[in-house]
């Protein structure tokens, strides 16, 4: 058993937050509240990221996910004025039961698999000193991952154009 350290405490709190609000996200009937729950979950995930020596990713997660994507969700939800989920009975109750079972089973199987996978023994090798992480990411992006990076920029451009076209009202 690892010693009870500050890091472990932070981890525990963050995981309770993340899982709790993730559950809340699913159980909420109101889309806006779902989004807000997810925001909290993402903050928990950002804390994990910092703990896993990835502060850049943590900030990115908050910046992009919480700050942009979920705000976009909120915007759309409010634009469409969606308040409540449909209440009438599911046409196929089997979907509900099977879906529940599948999610449960997949979660169990995956955690089992993750836990049973061989763990590295001893101290994990250092990634990099914290101060050098961002230049390193920059260098990697423009060397080893250059192709992916360029493809990504193209994808973003296409997505922007696509989103614009899709949401444009067509005047006939």
């Amino acid at each position: 058993m690892p010693a009870l350290s500050g890091e472990l405490v932070v981890f525990t709190i963050a995981s309770i937050l993340a899982i709790g609000f993730a559950l809340a996200m699913v159980l909420q009937k109101t889309p806006v509240r779902s989004v807000l729950s997810l925001v909290v979950t993402f903050f928990g995930l950002a804390i994990f990221s910092i703990q896993l020596a990835a502060p850049f990713i943590a900030v990115l997660q908050v910046f992009v996910y919480a700050g942009a994507i979920l705000v976009l969700f909120l915007f759309v939800i409010m634009l469409l004025n969606l308040s409540q989920e449909a209440t009438e009975e599911d046409a196929r109750p089997i979907q509900r039961r099977l879906g529940f079972v599948a999610a449960l089973a997949l979660g169990g199987v995956l955690s089992g698999a993750a836990l049973r996978a061989p763990m590295p023994k001893g101290v994990a090798p250092a990634i990099t000193p914290l101060a050098d992480e961002i230049p390193m990411i920059g260098r990697l992006l423009f060397s080893d991952y250059l192709l992916a990076f360029e493809a990504l920029s193209f994808l973003l451009l296409v997505a922007a154009v696509g989103a614009l076209l899709l949401s444009k009202r067509r005047f006939e």
Binding site: P31, T41, L45, F48, L52, I57, A103, A124, T128
Partner: protein
């Protein structure tokens, strides 16, 4: 936490704990995807699943002392942004036509 270099220090939290939290979040997201009927909620659940996977990537990157995991997460986040913008635009367009985003009412895959 200034001054602490988490990358150098041994992991105080066993990596398995991160993995379990990640898979649990994934399962919750999956449940949401399968059980929700509002398209936007389903979309949110998918985002949760992606982030759960991101957590796994980061954990493995930390375990292996390798930057590749972080790079993948970087790309996943960027792609998620693209996906969200297009997906939401689709929902907006869909809503204009059908006045609903209940996926059971827009069973357009069967025609």
């Amino acid at each position: 936490m200034t001054g602490a270099l988490p990358g150098v220090a041994p992991m105080a939290v066993p990596p398995g704990a991160y993995l379990v939290v990640g898979t649990l979040l994934f399962a919750i997201g999956l449940a949401g995807t399968l059980l929700k009927r509002n398209a936007l909620s389903i979309f949110l659940s998918i985002e949760l699943m992606m982030n759960a996977v991101n957590l796994l990537f980061l954990t493995y990157a930390r375990m292996r002392g390798d930057m590749a995991g972080q790079m993948i997460v970087f790309f996943v986040i960027a792609i998620a942004a693209a996906e969200a913008s297009v997906g939401l635009a689709i929902f907006v367009a869909l809503f204009r036509v059908r006045r609903t985003v209940d996926v059971d009412e827009i069973a357009l895959l069967k025609w």
